[in-house]
Every structure is written in C-alpha cells, then in structure tokens.
Symmetry: C2
Subunit: 249 residues, 2 copies
C-alpha cells in the first residue's frame, strides 16, 4: 500500500475494505473501538465508515452496540464461483457421503497459503472439530490441506515452507523434507491424511477435486476418531470427490 495513500480515492475505498477485514470467524462481532483498534483507523473514520456500511446493509448493529456482517454482504459473497458452482456440485455428493458415514465432512479451497472451508456437514455423533465455514486451516497439518498442496504447483509448497510449518500438535510435520515426502505419497495414493497433526484425537482423510484441466479446485475431507475409521472411509471420500469433479467446470 506504500505510495498509494496519496491517491485520496483509493485510500478512502481501501479503508472501507479495511473495516470489513476486521471481522473473521474468531471476531464475528466487534465494537466501534475494536474496529478502530484492529484496522488502525482513527475512531472518527471508523465510525463514519461503519455508518456507511450499515446504511448499505453490509454491517448490522446488535442490541449490545457491537457490529456484525450483514445479509447484504452474504448475498453478494454467495455469487463467488467457488461457493456457487463448486458447492452446488459438491452438496449432493456430500449428503450421500454424510448419510453413509455420519462423520464430519469438509469442503475446502485454496486461499493463498491456507485452506478455506467453504462447506461442512457435521452430526452430533461425529468427533468435534474446530473447523467452521469461512474458517482457514493450515495446509501442512490437515487432510484437506495436504490434498490441496499435493496437487498444486511446487511454488505453493515453497511458499508454505518459507512461511514456516507451525507445530499444531506433537504429531504435526514440521520438517520440509518430511512434508515433501508426505505429499509425494498423497499424489501416489490419491488421498491425504492427517493423523492427529491438527487436533489431538482427530484423524482426517481427504481427496482432491480436480477440474477437467487437471487443476486443483477443492478438497473433500472427512474427520473421524481413529486411523482405522479413516482407512475404512478413504475409498468413500475418494469416490465422492471424483463424483464432484464430474460436475465442476
């Protein structure tokens, strides 16, 4: 952004987007002071931009004075092709897989160097996960992440390694060489595993959804209690991912 803030128009519209950036899965509701603090904007600017967004419908005011993202932004965001085409192609297959397994399912796409969860199905019987729709997961520590990473270019692996491989549990792969070997195995097997590498007690297996051009579109993953469960479910996950791939553009 350096050098651009001299252009008043860009600066003002960028500030509006900065207000939106304050909100995420961990911070779905914020006070004016929190928006100003998180965005680095002066309080008066934050107040004015919040008012602008409220008038438009992008923010809503709660009874306790905090602000939340409004339905207007949801409506516009639902037009994103990752959401619309992919999710519509995926949901019937996800329902079938869910009915057959009753385990947690996740559909994730790449967003920079992370996996973004765009759909999930879960039952009260399934293992609890921290994944939420709209939430991000590390690529090196999750089944969907490894499936996405293994079928992307080498450049992405370099970026992920350069950014560091944070240890999420004692089982997380934190050595670049071991991660590269694990990804080669994902390509060979057609599925990626996470053996308690993200959350203790949770094991996942995921399969890539590839477009007709061979490029990675998404990964479909299942999270279960044990290695035995995901070994048993891997063929079902792979079958569902192939079923989705037949319907994506």
């Amino acid at each position: 952004m350096a050098g651009r803030t001299n252009t008043p128009g860009q600066s003002v519209s960028r500030r509006l987007l900065t207000v939106l950036d304050c909100f995420d899965v961990a911070h779905p509701a914020l006070t004016l002071t929190e928006v100003a603090g998180r965005s680095g904007l002066p309080l008066s600017t934050a107040r004015r931009l919040i008012a602008e967004l409220r008038e438009w419908g992008g923010l809503e005011r709660l009874d306790d004075g905090r602000y939340r993202i409004g339905i207007r932004l949801w409506t516009i965001g639902s037009l994103a092709p990752q959401q619309r085409g992919l999710r519509e192609a995926a949901l019937p297959h996800m329902h079938d897989l869910f009915q057959a397994t009753q385990e947690n399912l996740q559909l994730a796409v790449l967003e920079g160097t992370r996996a973004l969860c765009i759909e999930k199905l879960s039952s009260t019987r399934a293992v609890p996960t921290r994944t939420e729709v709209g939430g991000r997961l590390p690529l090196h520590a999750t089944g969907v992440g490894k499936a996405l990473l293994a079928f992307s270019g080498r450049g992405l692996l370099r970026e992920v390694v350069d950014a560091g491989l944070p240890r999420m549990t004692p089982h997380t792969i934190t050595q670049p060489g071991r991660l590269a070997a694990a990804l080669a195995e994902v390509r060979r097997a057609g599925v990626g595993y996470s053996y308690e590498e993200m959350t203790l007690g949770a094991v996942s297996v995921a399969a890539p959804v590839l477009g007709v051009d061979g490029r990675i579109r998404a990964a479909l993953g299942i999270v279960a209690h044990s290695r035995a469960a995901v070994d048993r479910l891997a063929p079902a996950v792979r079958t569902a991912a192939l079923g989705i791939a037949r319907w994506v553009e």
Copy 2:
C-alpha cells in the same frame, strides 16, 4: 443519497459499494463496460474501483475479461448471522426432511419486501425450480414468502401491497384483500401455500421459524409437483421448522 455526494469520503466509498451492487444472481459475471453501465459510474472510475476490489480479493477476472465476485467477499459474507447461526441450526433438520421427501427445500429470510433464499437442497428427482441461493422471491406468490409475511408486522404487508402485487402466473394473488385473507389463513394453519402462484407446475408449502422472542427468523419451504404432495408433506415441513426454531437464538 442526495446531499451526501458533497462529502468526498462517503462518496468514494459508496461508489465502491455501488460496483458490488452491479452483481446479482442474474448477473454473476460482468465486463468493465457493463459495470460502468449498471452503476452509472464513469468508465475510468469503474476501472479504478474494480482494480481496487481485485487487489483486495473482492473481485476476480475471468479469462474472457469479465469480472466475478471473489472468495474474499464470500468469506466475509459467511460471517452474517442469518447465514451462520440460522443455517447451521437449519441444515441438520433440512437434511432429515430431504432424506424423507427427496423434494426441493428452501430456507429463506426477509430482505426488505422480498424473501432471500439462504439455503436450498434439491435432487434431480424433484420438480425444477428457479430458486437459487442468494436469489430473491416475491413474498405474495411463494410459500416461504407468505410464511414470512404472515408472521411479520402489518407494516410489511402495507409495504408489499404499496409496491404492487405482480402477477407471476394466472394463479398469483394480486388483490390486497385476498392476500390479507390468505395470510390470516397462514397464521391459523401455521403454514403458507403457493398453488402454482409463482411457477406453473410447482406447488409449495412453508412453515415459519420463530425465535424465542416470537419474531420471525426464517421460513422453511418445500416445492413439489402437486397439491396432494404438499398437503401430505405440510406436517413434515412444520415439524422441521419447529425443530430449527429450538436451535436459533
């Protein structure tokens, strides 16, 4: 907006939102010229704001030069409480109802004087509908719309009537008095019907999802081929809607 365009900051940030407003279910991909035309902005302004939104991730450029809503806006929009809380509460019940009926299901909320579809489940066996997630439906001609309208304040009915009751099919209720009577019947029965009033060949029944404060949160509807089918399914829809209501805030 009159009188506000003299404030440069508001004007610029409002223009950015105007660019976003160009996109909807019927127009998911637009050229620069189309954005300028639909927004009324000069071409140079539209170009600059599109660049700003692309850099942020709110718009993406397709290979053919058109622009689409980007995943960044979807991620932020997914934080909207209507989407997050309501949808998460509703999906398990919708899955159950779908499994039992294999018909089209819709979850809709009020957005101004229209019903906004925030979730749908459909099977290839079900009657084709024009409803899409993120799409709007008229309140007077649909099952979900009547359920939402019947359990809202009288002011909304006045607004809807004042805006006119467009005839969607020969069966659409276009007389205010008949609509008011139909809504009284919806309140009595606890479900709203549409007998080919929106689409010829499609009949729907919907039940309201009321919050603990008694206020309307959403409507759950099912679309089927015949009046006999929806009569048979009405108790199931009502049961599912009551199930959802137990989980919404």
